[in-house]
Amino acid sequence: MLSKLIKHEFNATSKTLGILHIALFITTIMGIIAINLSKNDNYEYISSLTLIIYVLILIAVAVAVLIYLVVRFYRNLFTDEGYLMNTLPVKPSYLIFSKLIVSFVWSIINFVCTIFSILLLVLSQTSIASFFDTWNEITKYAWNEIGVSISSLLFLGILGGLVSIIYMFLMFYTSIAIGQTMRTHKVLFSMGAYVVLYIISQIISTMGLMPFGFFALLQTDNLNIETIFTPLMLSSYAISIALIVLYFFITNYIISKKLNLE
């Protein structure tokens, strides 16, 4: 049943989100053309203007994807469509999983498309060889100056990114689930719930990471990035994962027992 839910969730979201990503691709092509045109004439300001617009569009698409997915969670489960979704013979947890998995995949698609777009733009201006030269220089810098290898930095970054995506969506889901239990102003209460959850989670993660602060203070003489940085990051991920589990159970409880459809 979970696979069927995921299938229909993809079907329902692919049209709007597909169009958004096609728009992203068109933006990239137009950006490349605009920059190339500006090189020939005395219109250099065009290239920086294009770059600003380009970056704004990248951000706008990412935000639009996020908003669409979060609004869909609310609309599909807690408004009129909720009468259908919540009377399907499936576990409430499957409803959450299906939304989460599809949102996660779309976030990855958006990320990959964004990176691909930037790479296209960069490669249109430089040769592949000089691109790799720059890449090697960054790697060397990271190793010499910060003391981490770029691969472990990448690993930590990607792991952190994946955890953050799940964390972000579940925090939105929980806020929405809490907000919909109110009789009126459900959306407003959802936003309020988000602020409260945000503050609570910040307090929890600050307290959880406090020991590292003391540890760093005691060892100021030989503060090493490898001994502090990696464990610090991994601990913060562990706290996020614990909060993810907590948020999941809260959302699941509300959908199972405290549904309040209008």
Binding site: A12, E81, Y83, L84, T87, L88, V90
Partner: protein, 232 residues
């Protein structure tokens, strides 16, 4: 044979407001029951409890002997008073959706009823009138071979001609062991198809009777009795 629906001292509150205050009700299989009562009497709350959209505060509700959950959702076909379909989708996509999730969904029956009412399966919901959407929804709900149909205001939004077709569809499309619960204000329209009636007021069952009893013992139509019992 166990009752299709059994409620014992069922209580549901919304905050301080009591929607249902101690409902005791048994509905046997094979009956068409009219759930009748004024606005805000608790009809929709009871139907939501049957479908697991709400959880009772106290008392119990059993469908075929089971607490509402995945197993009861398989055998209960529910028509809410809302249009619950995604406006952007086509009728045929929604049919695929129902087929995927309900083992007892009969696709041929659905297409047959659609063509009878001249509804094109390739049309998107958003191009349809409110009445047509309600028809689509009723067709989907009645195309399931369910044991209990819960119809919340099924005919409120459609014209009288379609009303007759729909009522006909309802009685001709369910097997005789299945049960139907219809909640409505439009009593005179559905009076003829009902076996039993349950009057609900202020979250309590005020009267449960067979339609024949009302006609022969009281010498009244259900509509007249309703007007008498709920006189403002």
């Amino acid at each position: 044979m166990s009752n299709i629906l059994e409620c014992q001292s069922l209580v549901k509150k919304y905050g301080l407001k009591t929607a249902l205050s101690g409902i005791d009700l048994k509905i046997e299989p094979g009956h068409i029951t009219g759930l009748l009562g004024p606005n805000g009497s608790g009809k929709s709350t009871l139907i939501k409890l049957i479908n697991g959209l709400l959880v009772p505060d106290s008392g119990s509700i059993k469908i075929n002997g089971l607490t509402p959950g995945i197993e009861t959702k398989k055998i209960v076909s529910y028509l809410p008073e809302r249009t619950y379909l995604d406006n952007a989708s086509k009728v045929k996509d929604i049919i695929v959706f129902f087929e995927d999730f309900y083992d007892n969904f009969n696709k041929e029956k659905a297409y047959d009823m659609l063509s009878h009412l001249n509804i094109n399966p390739n049309d998107r919901l958003k191009t349809m009138s409110k009445g047509t959407k309600e028809k689509v929804q009723l067709i989907l709900v009645m195309s399931r071979d369910a044991e209990l149909y819960c119809l919340d205001e099924p005919i409120a939004g459609v014209d009288p001609a379609a009303r007759d077709y729909i009522l006909n569809t309802i009685i001709s499309n369910y097997n005789e062991n299945a049960s139907i619960i219809i909640s409505t204000h439009l009593i005179s329209d559905i009076e003829n198809i009902l076996d039993d009636i349950v009057f609900i007021a202020d979250g309590k069952v005020k009267l449960k009777s067979t339609v024949d009893d009302i006609r022969f013992k009281e010498g009244k139509s259900v509509d007249a009795l309703f007007r008498e019992v709920f006189k403002c």
